[in-house]
């Protein structure tokens, strides 16, 4: 399936792309557009104004996708807190890691094309997922 989002990807779009690819559509391919009017007819848009998979009711797009696809994995909801704070910085959650994550993604988007940002940030989100998965199992910070 094809998915479309705005060019110049940052934390929310990179997180959403990882989420879609890992948990919803293993065959996902992504296109990047400058304007909502450029979304191809066969693609589903995310993290853009006026689309279902965008910001809604104070949620960032990552949280919207979790709700829409009824993903209840607590590890994904923990990652959602990080993405939310890195993206919106509204202190809804206590996620001090978000600041660092935000800087890492901003830096990547300065030196890489969008498709490469997704390739490079994929293992980053895989690693974060594993870290918080172990943390939840242990009930404390994993080594």
């Amino acid at each position: 399936m094809r998915w479309a989002t705005r060019a110049g990807v940052h934390i929310d779009r990179a997180g959403c792309a990882w989420l879609l690819h890992r948990f919803i559509d293993p065959a996902a391919s992504f296109v990047f557009v400058e304007d909502p009017g450029e979304v191809p007819a066969d693609a589903t848009a995310f993290d853009m104004r006026g689309v279902e998979l965008g910001h809604h009711g104070g949620d960032c797009s990552f949280e919207t996708i979790l709700r829409r696809y009824q993903l209840e994995d607590p590890v994904l909801w923990k990652l959602a807190e990080l993405v939310h704070e890195a993206d919106l910085d509204d202190e809804r959650f206590d996620a001090p890691e978000a600041r660092g994550l935000d800087v890492v993604l901003r830096g990547l988007s300065m030196i890489l094309e969008d498709a490469r940002v997704l390739e490079v940030s994929g293992p980053l989100f895989d690693g974060l997922y594993e870290y918080y998965r172990r943390g939840l199992l242990l009930g404390r910070e994993p080594a």
């Binding site: 110049g8 940052h10 400058e34 304007d35 104070g58 910085d89 509204d90 600041r99």
Partner: protein, 186 residues
């Protein structure tokens, strides 16, 4: 003036240029109207605008220097206003004159200056408090400095004083945490 796409332009950072450069910057504007009732969405939008550090140009018209992040923040806020039954449009614009741009930037700088000033005063007040109280104040003020910095597009001179006052509090707290170290006078 409409800019299509903010990537690949010569000025990737905030596109407002320093005074005297002879060129006018690009600004992103949000024009909005929200129903008077219910008041919750009005308050939520007002808080978010304060947090973003917008310049208020008139009733329901705010602006920020244009970059990828400010554009996105105002886009999402417009979406939120529409969802709350209001009307909102987002525009990219160039000021009509350099003087107008300077006045807008000066208003934003003055608003940040007042915030930095408050941090400086709180840091100085905290210096006289107990060690535990100083530590709490330090944590809080560092967070406050970070929040102000995110909306500080035209840094005022007061920024350095605020940073210095918080650094002094940190040095103080570190010294208090190491009772073996005796501070020697000059």
């Amino acid at each position: 003036m409409i800019h299509q796409g903010e990537r690949g332009t010569a000025v990737p950072e905030s596109t407002v240029l320093p005074a005297g450069s002879g060129r006018l910057g690009s600004w992103v504007l949000l024009a909005y109207r929200l129903p008077r009732e219910p008041s919750n969405p009005r308050v939520a939008v007002w808080r978010k605008l304060e947090r973003l550090g917008v310049a208020r140009l008139g009733d329901g018209l705010v602006t920020l220097p244009h970059d990828a992040r400010t554009r996105e923040q105002l886009d999402w806020l417009a979406e939120e206003i529409l969802a709350a039954g209001g009307v909102a449009t987002v525009w990219l614009a160039t000021p009509g004159s350099a003087a107008q741009e300077r006045a807008t930037a000066a208003a934003m700088r003055a608003a940040r200056a007042a915030e930095y000033q408050a941090v400086t005063e709180q840091a100085r007040d905290a210096a006289a408090a107990s060690a535990a109280e100083r530590m709490r104040a330090l944590r809080r003020l560092r967070g406050e400095l970070r929040r102000i910095a995110r909306r500080d597009f035209f840094p005022p001179a007061e920024r350095e004083a605020a940073r210095a006052a918080v650094d002094a509090l940190a040095a103080d707290a570190a010294a208090a945490g190491e009772p073996a170290v005796i501070k020697e006078g000059p």
